[in-house]
Amino acid sequence: MIDQVLIPLLKIVIVLNATLVAVTYMVLLERKVIAWAQSRLGPMRVGPYGVLQPIADAIKLMIKEDITPVRADKWVFTAAPIISMVPALIVYAVIPFGPTVSLFGRKVSLYITDINVGLLYIVSVASVGVYGIILAGYSSNSKYPLLASLRASAQLISYEVAVTLTLVSVILMAGSLSMVEIVNAQYNQHVWFVFAQPFAFVLVLIGGLAETNRAPFDLPEAEQELTGGFHTEYSGMRFALFFLAEYANMIVVSSVVTTLFLGGWLPPFPNVGALHLLYYVPSWTWFLIKSFLFLYLFIWIRATLPRYRYDQLMRLGWKVLIPLAILNLVVTGIVKVMLM
Amino acid sequence: MGVDDRKPPETPPTAAADKPSSQAPAEPLKGEVSRTDAPGAGASAAPPGAPRTEPPAPKPANIEAAVTATVSETSSATGQPTAPADPAVRAAAPAPKASGAEAAAPTAAAKAAPPAKPAPPKPPAGGAEAHVPKAAPPTGPPDPPPPADKTPPAFITTLQTAVPGGVAALSFWVGDWTIIVPVAQLLDVARRLRDAPDAAFDYLSDLTATDWPPRTEGRFDVLYMLYSTRHRHRVRLKVKVAEHQPIPSVTGVWAAANWLEREVYDMFGVNFTGHPDRRRILMPEDWQGFPERKDYPLEGPGELLMENPLDWLKLRQAREEAEIE
């Protein structure tokens, strides 16, 4: 009973809350990091160094008037933010924050569940999120959101092809779709997949940026062109849901990349005996540090790069990333067969 | 406000004012103009008001002039009254003016006198002469002819031979050459100046107009500031046109003229013909009158209506109803 229901429920509560807190503080982190990059201070007013800013933001967004445009498709308009938010959160079910550890004499795994098609689950659930954006743009009955949703659907579909093809080569390496097994494979093969699959790593990173609508691929919400894109007509908490979904997706992408390429919860050089000391650091710490590096990279890129144009983005996706992904897959397969 | 897709009529849309509803703008206008003008004429030390070009003119004449002018603008398809009426008013004015000015505002007159002397120390010639008709109302710029020692640039002399009658007069003032061109020859002169290798005026710097309401040979000066990126020289063309007189658009010669002519049309109501897209540019599409004409009050009907939106709404409603009828 305890193992079957209570502990999973407890884990879900912890992960969900931790994610939501992480997402809100992710916003603060982004504002702070970009501010430092731009030689300013960022939020400084709410709490010391602005640490309470996310709470103030949350209160503001919750008490703000929630406007539904008169000519909007009301049901879809309401459903869109939820469709966007829910997939971003349920993906965390299969992300392994750590291995199975013993806690108070009980074996507890530091992930909610380990299904044998974990990676497939992530890819398919994450792609539901795009419906939220498409429907938001469509249901607003406004031109800028419509353009944005057209951009979003084209962009997300084409980049999903590239990312998924690339992930296949990782699956080939690991021989499993389970996230936990992929980490274990990296331990067993004595190499993080980032070194075994550098191409795939770069491709997934670029694709991940594009799939989370982050700069320089933030076309669907290009503020300077489309005045906010798909969420132009949204306000208050519904807007906040889109906002949170974007950051939750960012965390998902960095978690997935960490798991697939950086050995998940494994410390650096897990097989080197001399560095065994690193195992005394809790495993989830390594996971969080690695994920944080990616999040930082995302923010850094946003502060630095201009935005791609729609057609250039498509060209990059179809003419560069997808062929490279296929090539990578073929080479991986051949090498794998030869080594066997 | 939407972008309007209807092409404006070839004549300035004063014709619209013929509709009964547009009596309305004239109605508040009369009262308001006299309201704003009265203090202006009374207190000579105050910042000058619109018709301050002849500040000491007797009060009643002044008001009347302004009113007749604006009324003619909003309600006349005839358009004639301004030109003939004004000189009449002004003809009466000068006599008291000269004496009245010195008496009413001695300080201003005293100050005005000395600077007039240092002002034209260097001007080549004609400066002082241009300054002589002091009391007369402004009927146009002096357009002083070039002094004897100043020979016009070669492109002007060749232009005179290439386009017969193209140069009605020549003027030179503070270093600027001005060619006064008859309306009929404007396009020929423009093309010739653009294409002739010795002129090569490929750049239309500016196109604007000046309004001289009392002038008999057409109240507007339309001015074309030309520049040559090859020879790096400048010249100014000046065309005198009357209120509704058509003047060919030079958009075919210099594409830059498009918006500039639209602005001149918008501000002065100069009747450009052959313009590809003649709409108002700065003022709203349904604006009445042409704001930069001299007879348009500084604080005009539009501003007053905007200050009192209820009146404005009533007016708009009336106009819409009239259109439905």
Binding site: Q38, T304 | A128, D176, L282
Partner: protein
């Protein structure tokens, strides 16, 4: 969305999307309205609607006396107010045939060039921001702040300076100011490199700007483009060189021109103008002569009857004033400004055709408009 009334007379077409960009839009740099007709994301045609900021400065100026107008010129190009001041004062001086002392002319040159850098800072920031590179914006504003400090020290204001008088300067430069200007030049030199590092060789920036809005030299000349927009097309037209005013005939500088006439070239031209401006400022500041700051200005300014056109090179291009004096009144009979932004904006329709929506904002950025000046 009743915006399908583009002046082409086309009724709403299911194949085309009519989209209203502005007057409230983050990338139209003020209250510009661009009505775009889109085929997908491709711009078929556009109509540029202006006039939302029309304040009638020309009409107003005809009813103010000659000295009061200086203040109105501030309100046109409000990011380069000092340049407008200088342009107006020089035009009146030309009408008055007034000799301006050399010291005043040098200070004017310094102010104009500082203003050019300030304006270009704002331009590079907003242009990069429109294309999505947000950091350059704040970097550029950081340096613009230094210039505003210099202006504040000179005339007490930071935006609308009213910094010029007919015949010379209102005040002499404060002690130590010249040294600060030179210090600023040293700082700015390095910072321009910083902007360029972020943009000039950035792959995405190149892709976004190269080949966008190409316009040939003759066509740009015919369309009346001016300033960097014209020079980017390879036309060496710079009023500072061609018709020198202030002290530009006494300083050394190069006119920067582009080759392809695309957005990238216009960008490069302005980036190089930063350096040329610094060069001018250095020379002018080091060579600033002693002497009076105001010429022999009459107590009551009342030029003899006549008219003149005088142009200067504002950061946006040829800023011309056409002023008619009737010789009798203390206000100009006709006051006309040739606003460079207005003439550059006219070219927008030609530039955006066939490009994508995202390029529209890049092109609006690349012609560098200020709506206060477009509408006056």
């Amino acid at each position: 969305m009743e915006t399908q009334t583009v002046h082409h007379g086309a009724m709403f077409d299911t194949n085309e999307l009519v989209i209203n960009m502005g007057p409230q839009h983050p990338s139209t740099h003020g209250v510009l309205r661009v009505v775009l007709r889109l085929d997908g994301e491709k711009v078929v045609d556009c109509d540029v609607v202006i006039g939302y900021l029309h304040r009638g400065i020309e009409k107003l100026s005809e009813n103010r006396n000659w000295t009061q107008i200086v203040l109105l010129t501030d309100r046109m190009d409000y990011v380069a107010a000092a340049t407008s001041n200088v342009g107006y004062c020089e035009t009146v001086e030309k009408l008055l045939q007034l000799e301006v002392p050399r010291r005043a002319r040098y200070v004017r040159t310094i102010l104009c060039e500082l203003q050019r850098i300030a304006s270009h800072c704002l331009w590079v920031g907003t242009h990069a921001m429109d294309i999505g590179a947000m950091t350059v914006f704040l970097y550029a504003f950081r340096e613009r702040e230094l210039i505003l400090d210099l202006f504040e020290e000179f005339c007490g204001a930071r935006l609308t300076y009213n910094s010029m008088r007919i015949g010379g300067l209102p005040l002499d430069v404060p002690p130590g100011w010249a040294k600060k200007v030179l210090e600023f030049c040293t700082i700015m030199e390095a910072k321009v490199g910083e902007y360029e590092e972020l943009l000039t060789h950035n792959r995405i920036w190149l892709e976004r700007t190269k080949g966008i809005g190409i316009i040939s030299g003759p066509e740009a000349t015919g369309l009346g483009l001016c300033g960097p927009a014209l020079r980017g097309s390879g036309v060496a037209r710079d009023v500072r060189k061609d018709e020198p005013y202030a002290a530009y005939d006494e300083v050394q500088f190069d006119v920067v021109i582009g080759t392809n006439g695309d957005t990238y070239d216009r960008y490069l031209v302005r980036m190089e103008e930063f350096r040329q401006s610094l060069r001018i400022i250095r020379q002018a500041t080091e060579g600033i002569p002693e002497g009076p700051i105001v010429g022999k200005v009459p107590r009551l300014i009342k030029p003899a009857a006549g008219e003149t056109y005088h142009a200067i090179e504002s950061p946006k291009g040829e800023l011309g004033y056409f002023i008619v004096s009737d010789g009798k009144s203390t206000n100009p009979y006709r006051f006309r400004v040739r606003p460079p932004s207005f003439c550059n904006l006219q070219g927008l329709r030609r530039l955006v055709r066939g490009h994508l929506v995202a390029d529209v904002v890049a092109l609006i950025g690349s012609i560098d408009i200020v709506l206060g000046e477009v509408d006056r």
